[in-house]
Each structure stands twice: as C-alpha cells, then as structure tokens.
C-alpha cells in the first residue's frame, strides 16, 4: 500500500518537477574501475510499469554480445546467431532455465525473462562463451563502461534501493538506499566486492 502511494506521488510530481540523474562509479576493493557491473535502482513505494521491450543477445565471433545484458523483468530477448557456425545457448539459472538447441540465424521466438535474477548463459559447444542476462524488477538500470561509470537518468525524485551486481560477486550486496530530489544530479561511488 505504502509503495503504491509513493509511486503515485512520484508519478504526480513527475510532470512538474524535472527528473533527477544518478551517476554511479563502481570500483573494486583495490579502487580499480569495474566494467560490466550492473547498477539498478528500485523505486520504493512505487509500482513500475511492465516492460514491453525486446532486447538482443547477439552471438558474434563465438562471443555473446553484450557480455552483460540487464533487462527489466518481462523483457523478451532475441538470440540471433551472427556466426556461420552453430551455437547451443542454454541456461541452468533458476531465474530462467532454457536451451536453444543448435541453431543458426535468429530463432523465431524471443525468450521472455519474467523473473528477476541472474541468468548465466552458455553455449554448450563453446565452453568459453559466457554472458549474463540480469533480470531486474525496475526499468532503471545501466551497465558500467570500461571506466566503471554509468548514469541512471530520468529518475523521478524519491527513495530508491540501489542494487549492484557484477559477475564476480559472491553474493548480492545489501541495497543502498538513495533518496533523490527533483532535478538532483547525484553522484555515488559503489565498491564491488
């Protein structure tokens, strides 16, 4: 109930107040920037709309591209095969278990990831091909670039639970509560463990 009220307030305030921006830098314990880390902000007390988007996890040169693909839960992801060899994409992750038997081209049906969680992707005949689809329950997410930076834009003012994920982390860190005011340009440093 409370969450519904907050999100309603945010929605009401949106047109009036300008959106806030959150710039996040992710470093590891040694202070080095961490690439391909996913940071996503879950609004507190507000519903988020369903995701009606599609995403693409391409396979080129025996590599999943992108390596990390954050998506909002409910997003359908296409797995086109841009190589001229076959791949067999699979996931034994609990968030989404599937497999695409050896194929070329783009399978007709995209796969919908409706459950938040991390889906580790692999190709059964190319052990080195790995990729992650990070299914988050929010549309506010981004991936760090090679300097460990990302920006979450168009955030309405309000409270958020800021979550960090990257492939090497042993467990999910506790979410960082962040409150954004209207039009606020906030900068946050996160340490990946």
């Amino acid at each position: 109930m409370l969450r519904t009220l907050v999100s309603a307030a945010l929605l009401l305030a949106a047109p009036i107040a300008s959106a806030a921006t959150l710039a996040v830098t992710v470093r590891n314990a040694r202070g080095a920037p961490v690439r391909d880390a996913v940071v996503y902000a879950i609004p507190e007390g507000r519903e988020v709309g369903p995701a009606n988007q599609t995403a693409v996890m391409d396979q080129k040169n025996r590599t999943f591209i992108p390596h990390v693909l954050p998506i909002q839960a409910g997003t359908a992801v296409k797995f086109p095969n841009s190589d001229d060899i076959r791949h067999q994409v699979y996931s034994f992750s609990s968030a989404k278990t599937f497999q695409l038997p050896l194929y070329t081209g783009t399978p007709a049906n995209a796969i919908v990831f409706d459950k938040p969680g991390v889906v580790a992707l692999g190709c059964n005949i190319h052990d080195r091909m790995t990729a992650y689809i990070v299914v988050v329950p929010t549309p506010h997410f981004a991936t760090t670039d090679k300097s460990g930076r990302l920006t979450l834009a168009s955030l309405s003012a309000g409270k958020y639970a800021l979550q960090l994920w990257h492939a090497d982390q042993r467990s999910d860190p506790a979410p960082l509560p962040v409150t954004l005011t209207s039009g606020e340009q906030k900068q946050i440093e996160l340490v990946a463990r």
């Binding site: 699979y90 034994f92 278990t97 692999g122 059964n124 052990d127 091909m129 790995t130």
Partner: protein, 794 residues
C-alpha cells in the same frame, strides 16, 4: 721343516703376497662397494620418494582433467542443475563410474553436501575436507590425498559450471597397489603405504612386497620407527632391506606413510657380481702366478739341487760326474765354476794322494803304499801254495856316496836305481822306496820263480856301474828276503823279518839273505842295545881288551891294540861289530871313542912308566875324523899320561879315509904333526887308489883279515895280494901289519913275505887288561928263557 726347500719358500712367499694383495683389493672393493651401494641405495630411495610424489601428483592432475571434462558434460550439468537429489545422486554414480571414481560427492557452493555416492552419508553436512573446497575456490580446482573410510584416496574437486560455478563436484580415487606398482616399475623399489591406526586391526597397509614379506612387514611394522626421510635397515624374514619412510602430504592432515625399500642383497648384486668377477680374476691371476713361480723356482731350485747332489758326490769322493746344468744365468755360471772346482779338487786330491803314497824323488810307491800293496798281495794269495815274498834292500855305503859326491848325486843315483829296479820287475810286482837308501820289492813267488831268483836278478841290476854326470860308480845292495806264509802272515811282520834278513846280509857281506826263523830277536836286541848304548859309558859297562901286535922279525910284542867291549848286563860281552855301527848311527861314537882314547892312553902311560915299552893302537871311527877338537883332546890325554905321541897309533879304516879324502887328509895331517902315528885299517876292502894312499901321512898298513885268515900255501891269490901289499907298503915306507893270524902256517908265510907285524889268535886273542898284562909278563919270561933256548915256536 715346512720351509725346507727354496722352492717351497718362494712359493709360500709368493702365495702370501698375492693372497694379501688380492684380499686387500677384495676388501677395498667390498668396502667401497658397500659404501657406494649404501649411498646409492639411499639416493635411490630419495629419488623413489620424489618419483612417488610425482606419480601421485601427476595422477591428481590427470584425475582433475578427467573430472573436469566429466563435470562439463551437459547432461551432468543438467542433472546437477535439476536440484533433484536422486537425480543428482544417480548422475554422480553414473558419471563417476565412467571414470572409475571410487566416490563422488556434490557440494553446494554454500558448503553443505548436496548428494553423494556413499549412501547419502555426507548429505547436508559440510564437506569434511574443507581445505579442498577452499583451494578449489581459490584456484578453480583442487586435488589432494586424504584418508577416507580408513583408506587412502586421491580426491579431486572441480566446479560444475553452468557456465558459472553452480556446485563443486568431488571425485575420489583410491590409491591402490596399481599406483605403488607403477612406482615400483619406475624405481625398482618396493613401496608400502600404511595408515597408522586407521582402523581397529592396527592400520591399513598395501605393498608391492611379496605376500610373505608383507606378513613379516605387518608383524614388524609397529616396531619400525617412523623416522622421516632417513634410511634405515629393515629385516623381513631372511632378507635385509634398506628403507625410507616418506610421509604423503594429505589434504585432511591424516597420516599416510609410504615406505620405500629395496632389498640390500638386490642392490648389492652388481657389487657382488663385481666382487665375484674380481675374485675369479684374482684366483686366475694367483694360479697363473703360482705356475710361473713354480716354473721359476724349479728353474732355480732344480739346478741348485743338482749342485747340492754334486757337492755330496764330491764329499763322498766321487769326482767323476759333472753337474749337468744347462742354464746360462748365474746358476749356470755357478755350475760351470762348480764343475771346474770339481775337476780342480779331483786333480789336487789325485796329486795329494800320489804324493802321500809315492816317493817324490823316484816316483816309486812309498812305505805307506807299499804296506798297502803288500797287504793286498797277501790278501790276494788265498790258494795254498801261493807265496808272497818281499825283498828289503839297502844300499851299501850310500851315506858315504852321498857325503862324498853330494846330495844331488845321491838323489840322481837313487832315481837311477829306482828306474833299474822298475825295469827289472814284472808288471805285478811292486817296488817301493821306503826312505833313505832303502828299497823294497813285493811279488808272488813260486817254485818256478823263487824269491832267491828274484833277489839274484835284482843283484844283477847292480852289476853295471851307474853312470851319472860323468861319474861312474859301483853300488852294491844288501837284500833281505821274507816270505809269506813261511815267515809271517801279515805285512808288518813280514817287513820286519825282511829287515832282519837284510841286516844279516849286510853283516855277512852277502848280497842277500833269507830270513831265518828266530832271527827276530837279534833285531830286537839291536834296538835294545841302541837305546842302552847312551848309558853304557856312564854305567861303566865298557871295557877295553888289548890284543898284541908282534914284530915278526924280533918276535916281540911291540903294539897293543885297544879293542872296546861292552859288558852288557843282560847280553853279556858284546863285540864292537854289534854296537859300534849302532853307535855310529845313533851319534854316540864320539863319546865311546873319547872313552877308549882316555882309557887306552892312560893304560899305555902306566905301562911305559912301568918300563913296558908298548905302543898303543886305537881305532877311530870315520865320524871321529870329522871332530875337529879330537887332536886337541889327544894332546890333553898324552900330557896327562906323560906319554910320547910316538907311542900312539891311530887306526882308520880305508873306507873312512875314502869318504872325504880332502878333509881326512887335513885331520890326519894335524894328528901326524903332533907326532902320532897313523895306520890304515882293513886295507884291501876299500877302493883307495895308490895315488891317494901316497898322499896320506900314514905310517902303517893293516891288511884286512879276510886276506890273512885263509892264508896258506895253497891259496896263491891271497898270497899274491898280501905279498904285493907288503911290497907296496914297504915301497912307500910304511910298515905292514897282518890281522887274523890264526895258525903257525900263516905266521910263517907272513914272516917269509916280510910282513912287519902280525896280530891274531895265533899270538893272542884280545884280553882284558889284567890278563893282557899277565900275558906280557909270561911272554917276557919265555923271552928270557929263549935267550938260552934257540927259538920260539909256540
């Protein structure tokens, strides 16, 4: 005793040296081998432990790879991802058996075991060997050794990737004998793996040792101290091992020990083989050296032995056989020298033997050899009728010849005589020179050829004069014959008897005499006399008998001849013939002559003092002529007796004068100058030449009685000799005296022949002084009576 021969000595020394050397070599090899063996054995064991580690580590890696491949199997992953325990358990069993894993466990990333093939024993518990998980988390995989269910396992932990790790799968592989055998195959070491106290019966143990050793090991295992990485000796049954404890690195901290060991005998085998080879080679070398030494020693000792035998032969007096050594080395030279020495000794001994048995001068056998031959000849005469004769021979007047003509001449004469005798004799006869001028002959006599015939033959050899160095001389010999078995049965006695016979011959002026049984005693008497003669003067045993010499014309006793007699306490009165020659031979004649001179001159002095005007005649021996003090002595005596020298006549035999005419002349002249008259005695028996006689300062000649004794009208020869002698003497102004007048006829003849004086039994025998004086007195009475009577014709 043991080292009696040179050969044995050499061989023993050789063996000793070789055995010592080879024993030393063997011991050195053995000790070095043992040390090397121990060291290399220790090294082997350490290498073996590293190999064991390596093999286990390699096995772990291989197992890891295998398990990793297995874990990436899609179906496996799918099954694991299913999160359905029975499914997971079955896939673990299934896939585990694919790679022959003995156990498989799936562990969640969070820790608890998800499933296992051990009947779920570990499920929901945390994995007991957490270290492996930690290591796998750090390195992506891990492997290690651990004890599981009391058994050694090699465990591998790898992640199950999907593609991110979703779980750990651990597969266990028991370390069994195959592993150990692999180590053994590579290292030739026996490997034992033991887990102490892992279960109730004392431990787990697997080994590559044979079953029985395994039992021994089990029973001794508890007593084997586990000293890490240190060699130790282990006895299993009868076999010695060298062992090394090597603990394995375990993941769970459990104590798993490996014991690497090797049979010492096994390791030592190459060394033993080497030792055996060296021993065999040593033995062969020893045998070869022994054979060589034996040959060498034989080469030395054989000839030495032969030399020794040769020396023994020489010792026994056998010089005939040369030592046969053909070598050209020192021993050969020794043998040559030895043989030269042998012939040298033989020659020398022959020479010595010859010298010992032969007379150096004549080369005839000497007395020794003669006695020997004689004994042999006697021994050889075994048959009855065989007679052995010896003839002893003594040269007459040899001493005179020697003294007169010199020793060289005498020697040459003896040689010549020896030669003649030898030529006269038969092969089987033996002639020897016994010494001086004595020769002897021995021979077999028979009826066909008697000893006397032999003696006659020998006598004939002296008939021809000996022509030596431009001097011609006649020599006579007196011979005595003795015959075996008639006179004696042994050589010594036979010689003695022949000697007696020879003296008889000499005494009787016969060429030879045969021994007469019993004559022996005479010879013994001679010897006794000879020894007693010295004392005769001191004991006053000598006496003088006087024999008158009658002036044939006046019939008066004008001279008295002093004749010495020996009143021997045992033999009675001895005539001068019996002892004077002995006195001359023994050198006592001077003493006797002096005694006679003193007594006779004293007596004569007394007679003259009493008015008896007699001249005393005294005989001098040939030796007296060589006494230079004699004239002075006579002076003393004359002075003492107050006697005129003209009352003394000294009689010297013709042969005595002839012995050294020059010297005799000097002495005689000396005496003559003192006024003493001189007479030549025994005239006619010698060889005095007239010219010689003429030079002598003599006053009288005494015709030898041998011419006078048989003087009768019938014996014209004797009359002729006597007459010519008397005429000769008168022509030279000498008075002539005849000895041995025994009857009236002789007296008459002498008177007719104009002989000056006569002496003999017809007138008077030699008488003791008292009787002589009595005779003188009675004769004086007769003379007084005859002055009235016309003549005397007694």
């Amino acid at each position: 005793m043991i080292f009696r021969s040179f050969q044995t000595k050499l061989l023993t020394l050789m063996i000793a040296v070789l055995v010592l050397l080879q024993a030393a070599t063997l011991i050195a090899v053995h000790v070095a081998g043992e040390r090397t063996m121990r060291t290399s054995l220790g090294e082997e064991l350490r290498v073996g432990s590293r190999v064991l580690d390596q093999i286990l580590s390699e096995r772990g890696r291989q197992l890891s790879d295998t398990v990793r491949v297995l874990a990436s199997d899609f179906a496996f992953r799918e099954a694991v991802a299913s999160a359905d325990r029975p499914t997971i358990t079955s896939v673990l069993t299934n896939h585990g058996s694919r790679i022959a894993a003995d156990a498989a466990v799936l562990i969640s990333l969070e820790g608890p075991v998800v499933a296992d093939t051990l009947n779920g024993r570990l499920v929901d518990k945390s994995f007991p060997i957490s270290r492996l998980i930690r290591e796998a988390e750090a390195r992506g995989e891990s492997s290690g050794i651990a004890t599981f269910d009391g058994r050694p396992f090699q465990l591998v932990v790898v992640p199950v990737l999907a593609p991110r790790p979703i779980a750990w799968v651990c597969m266990g592989f028991e370390i069994d004998e195959t592993v150990l055998k692999e180590v053994r195959r590579l290292t030739a070491l026996d490997v034992t793996l033991a887990i102490a106290g892992a279960n109730a019966d004392g431990g787990f143990l697997i080994t590559t040792l044979p079953t029985e050793s395994r039992r021994d090991l089990l029973s001794t295992a508890r007593r084997i101290p586990v000293s890490k990485d240190r060699d130790q000796s282990i006895r299993l049954g009868d076999e010695m091992y060298q062992g090394l404890w090597h603990p394995l690195q375990t993941a769970d901290g459990s104590r798993i020990h490996t014991l690497l060991q090797r049979s010492v005998a096994d390791a030592a085998r190459p060394y033993r083989d080497l030792e055996v080879k060296i021993f065999v080679l040593s033995t062969i070398a020893l045998i070869v050296a022994l054979i060589a030494a034996m040959f060498f020693a034989r080469g030395v000792s054989r000839p030495l032995e032969r030399l020794a035998q040769g020396a023994q032969r020489i010792e026994r007096g056998n010089y005939a056989d040369a030592v046969d050594v053909k070598q050209r080395d020192e021993i050969g030279r020794l043998a040559v020298a030895f043989n030269e020495m042998r012939t040298g000794i033989a020659d020398r001994e022959e020479r010595i033997r010859y010298q010992a048995t032969h007379d150096a001068l004549t080369g005839l056998p000497n007395r020794v050899l003669f006695l020997d031959r004689l004994a042999q000849t006697i021994a050889g005469a075994k048959r009855p009728g065989d007679t052995v004769a010896i003839i002893m021979m003594d040269l007459d007047r040899f001493k005179e010849i020697n003294d007169t003509l010199g020793h060289h001449f005498g020697d040459d004469l003896l040689k010549e005589i020896g030669l003649r005798l030898k030529q006269t004799l038969r092969e089987t006869d033996t002639v020897a020179r016994l010494g001086g001028d004595e020769f002897a002959v021995t021979f077999y006599a028979s009826e066909r050829f008697t000893a006397a015939e032999m003696a006659a033959r020998l006598t004939r050899t002296f008939e021809a004069p000996f022509q030596l160095a431009s001097v011609s001389i006649e020599v006579n010999a007196s011979m005595g014959i003795a015959i075996c078995p008639d006179h004696a049965n042994d050589a010594e006695t036979l010689m003695k008897r022949a000697d007696v016979a020879m003296y008889d011959a000499k005494r009787t002026h016969s060429p030879f005499m045969t021994y007469e049984p019993g004559r022996d005693e005479h010879s013994l008497r001679r010897l006794a006399i000879l020894s007693e003669l010295r004392n005769a003067v001191a004991r006053d045993e000598l006496v003088i008998h006087y024999q008158p010499k009658i002036d044939v014309k006046s019939d008066k006793a004008v001279h008295a001849e002093a004749l010495v007699r020996w009143r021997h306490p045992v033999h009675g009165i001895l005539s001068p013939d019996e002892f004077i020659p002995l006195a001359e031979q023994s050198g006592n004649i001077g003493m006797i002559t002096k005694w006679v001179l003193r007594r006779a001159i004293m007596d004569c002095g007394a007679w003259n003092a009493a008015g008896l005007h007699l001249t005393i005649a005294i005989n001098l021996s040939v030796l007296d002529l060589f006494d230079a003090k004699l004239p002075a002595y006579i002076d003393e005596l004359l002075a003492e007796a107050r006697l005129s020298p003209s009352k003394v006549v000294l009689e010297i035999t013709e042969s005595a004068v002839m012995k050294d005419p020059t010297y005799a002349l000097r002495i005689l002249s000396d005496l003559k100058n003192r006024g003493v008259a001189l007479a030549i005695d025994d005239y006619g028996t010698g060889y005095s030449s007239l010219s010689h006689l003429k030079r002598l300062p003599v006053d009288e000649l005494k015709i030898d009685k041998s011419f006078v004794v048989n003087l009768r009208d019938a014996s014209k020869d004797d009359i002729l000799i006597v007459r010519s002698t008397i005429e000769l003497g008168h022509n030279m102004g000498l008075k002539v005296i005849a000895e041995g007048v025994e009857n009236a006829e002789t007296w008459r003849i002498l008177k007719e022949l104009g002989c000056d004086m006569a002496q003999g039994y017809y007138v008077s025998p030699p008488l003791p002084i008292a009787e002589f004086q009595e005779w003188l007195a009675s004769r004086a009475r007769i003379a007084r009576n005859r002055s009235s009577a016309p003549s005397m014709s007694a």
